[in-house]
Symmetry: C2
Subunit: 487 residues, 2 copies
Amino acid sequence: MESVERNDTLNPLTRELPQRVSDRIRDIVGERGILTDPADTAPYLSDWRGAYKGKAALVVRPASTAEVSGVLALCHQEGIPVVTQGGNTGLCGGSMPDASGRQIVLSLNRLNRIRNIDAANDTLVAEAGCILADVQNAAREVGRLFPLSMGSEGSCTIGGNLATNAGGIAVLRYGNMRDLTLGIEVVLPDGRIWDGLRGLRKDNTGYDLKHLFIGSEGSLGVITAAVLKLYPLPTEKAVAFAALPSPEAAIELFKHLRSLCGPRLTGFELMSRMSLDFVLRHMAGCTDPMAEPHPWYLLIELTDSSPTANLRELIETGLMGPLEDGQVLDAVIAADEAQAAALWKLREGISEAQNFEGPSIKHDISVPVSSIPGFIDKASAALSNEIPGIRLVCYGHVGDGNLHFNLSKPPDSENADFRAQAGRIGRVVYDVVAQFTGSISAEHGLGQSKRQDIVRYKSDLELELMRSIKGLLDPKAIMNPGKVLPD
Amino acid sequence: MESVERNDTLNPLTRELPQRVSDRIRDIVGERGILTDPADTAPYLSDWRGAYKGKAALVVRPASTAEVSGVLALCHQEGIPVVTQGGNTGLCGGSMPDASGRQIVLSLNRLNRIRNIDAANDTLVAEAGCILADVQNAAREVGRLFPLSMGSEGSCTIGGNLATNAGGIAVLRYGNMRDLTLGIEVVLPDGRIWDGLRGLRKDNTGYDLKHLFIGSEGSLGVITAAVLKLYPLPTEKAVAFAALPSPEAAIELFKHLRSLCGPRLTGFELMSRMSLDFVLRHMAGCTDPMAEPHPWYLLIELTDSSPTANLRELIETGLMGPLEDGQVLDAVIAADEAQAAALWKLREGISEAQNFEGPSIKHDISVPVSSIPGFIDKASAALSNEIPGIRLVCYGHVGDGNLHFNLSKPPDSENADFRAQAGRIGRVVYDVVAQFTGSISAEHGLGQSKRQDIVRYKSDLELELMRSIKGLLDPKAIMNPGKVLPD
């Protein structure tokens, strides 16, 4: 145990934890299951953007559900706060410990086996630490699709996807992570293991407990594994890029294409001209697919697994009428995979391109699809009134009613001045969201950054119910304190 | 108030309730909101099959959420048990009061407005007392589909569908009631109203409370309204009837067709030869579509909303290979709507046909789709061993892993003898279900008939979690006592 003592002496990480407790944790997870060297722990104590930083008494990396159970039982007994962490790609600081150094980071990145694939049942059982892309690949190897997909898929984990009920670019067709999950295994805050790993499409034998844990951001227990739904692998694809006069026209086109294409409509992404301008200005290899600028654009994707699908003909048919009516101003259809990828890059480059324009204030909101035009109108007017010259980088999964309503500073303003107004600007945006009975966090969760905001937008009763459920499942409040629930 | 007093004097219904309480309920819901005459209350005190009967202190019919709130606040204060009732079409006695006469039946059949239809958001807001078929029709009138569909749709209500997380014949494509619901309005047991009527595809702002109430069979509160998801109305349909040598072949065909047809595959219903025999013997106008008898059959339905779909060609393509390989023994494809209806009648007539063969013992179970053949083999062997000559009427939504594993008595046995063995037979079936990590109630809930059974099949921890949630939300245990949770 020499190395242990040396680490404990040298490393401020473990100072807040009694030796006897760190010894017992080491007994449970083994030497490989504990990180104390600052070079090793650094990636766990700062999020990928560097927006959130924290300290930890220990970084613990259990390799099995039993080890998670042992660690939580001990932490429950000793009253040690636990911050569960997946790929650390969240945007709201939900997996970052606080600055006290008293919290333990419980990283699940060693809990990463795919336990089972059942092609006839179209299910895959993954442990929480599996990287999303690895699960996608494992499904693809047996000719199936696991449809969750997002920019961070090479780093984010199934556990993080479950904890935040992740969304991404295929929700329109396949739903959120919640919809893609049939069963879960959970270690409760006191260390007991609930085996809810059922791979059933239908089960009505009492309260549905899994939905309590999914989306609870590590505040009610630790999800250690899940039964995920698989789908036929799409073999056909058509991608179009359409220019539109207004968000109203985009919603009309959505209604039209959804009726015409049914579930083939997989992607329906809106972007403003300013979003495209930023991409064209800053992202290498991106060009405007149209000769003239237009106020709004849609990226439209159809997919199908049936060889009889003629998706190109279908999308052409779908766009023809609206083009003749002037509801669509111009449209291009990708002729091959390279062109499709180039069109997607215009959409996917927005977030990065925005960084080149100085500080930005981002909002991940949703409203009913029918309220998208009204929301954009009202929120834009309110913001321009509040901060003249503010630049609206409005884009997102409009078929889900989800906009990334991001704001770049006025070109001639000071960065610090703009950043200082984030709270006030958020209030303006969220108040308009509330007028349309929308959500102030569509797919990113609450974490630490939004948990106070919900006091203004949720009823006292709903907050009371959330708090009482927290108290029921985690009476010692050791799970991810300072996240999700407002003070 | 003469009539009130007369009723109170004459009718045993209200004897168990203090006059002061029934007066206050009458103040809340008005004269039309209370039934006391035995001729009026009889339909609420016996289920549609006559399998369950009960007594009630009052039948209360609130016409608004506020009235439900008033009644529950009073019942909470006075400790009066409440049995919420929808269309009274359940199969497990979940909406029937007990024999004490102390319980109140809270019928929601006057709470039956469709509050809103939003075609662009593809949502419909229905109150709990809306008849399912009325909701389907309201959606159809605006060119949309509300996909929940089942035999009882002309009587069952949205509230009952939510309380039991109803399934039916289109789950394979559209999911259960839970999957079709975006938001709900709930009156808590103490009368407080939680407005969770959000029509959002994405919302990650805390714990998902709606999934606690959906499927809780009226034991945690009263769902008074819901935001339901709508879909494009299918305009194309193909229906095939295929004969197969075995359940194994059915699962192989399922895998093949699901990959080929994707979401077009809407119905995939298995039935044994004995199921078909019963239908042919007892149901008027039903004929065997094939020249020879075969051991197993599948009813397959494809639907699509796209005019470019050629479903008939697709199903022909899909069946051709398996026919050549002998995985499918014979197949017919409906040439028109009348033929499609005739094929569906073979499937939908089974339950009624079985009644002509004497008493039956029914099980609504699910297993992973891949375990269907193994389950049928093992359960059949166990039952034939237990009761020689027992007749297996095995059919169901096999694409969901859901079988109605029903049993008719041996032809030469006494009815009473067979009925007396229901408990023992259920145990045999459910033990095999458990071996395949299945569910003993796939789509009918637990109600009063199955609530004790789950003690054997659920972990103590899961039962403890269910009980503690019940205690949290309904501390006085007034909501549907004697249902769902085991003693």
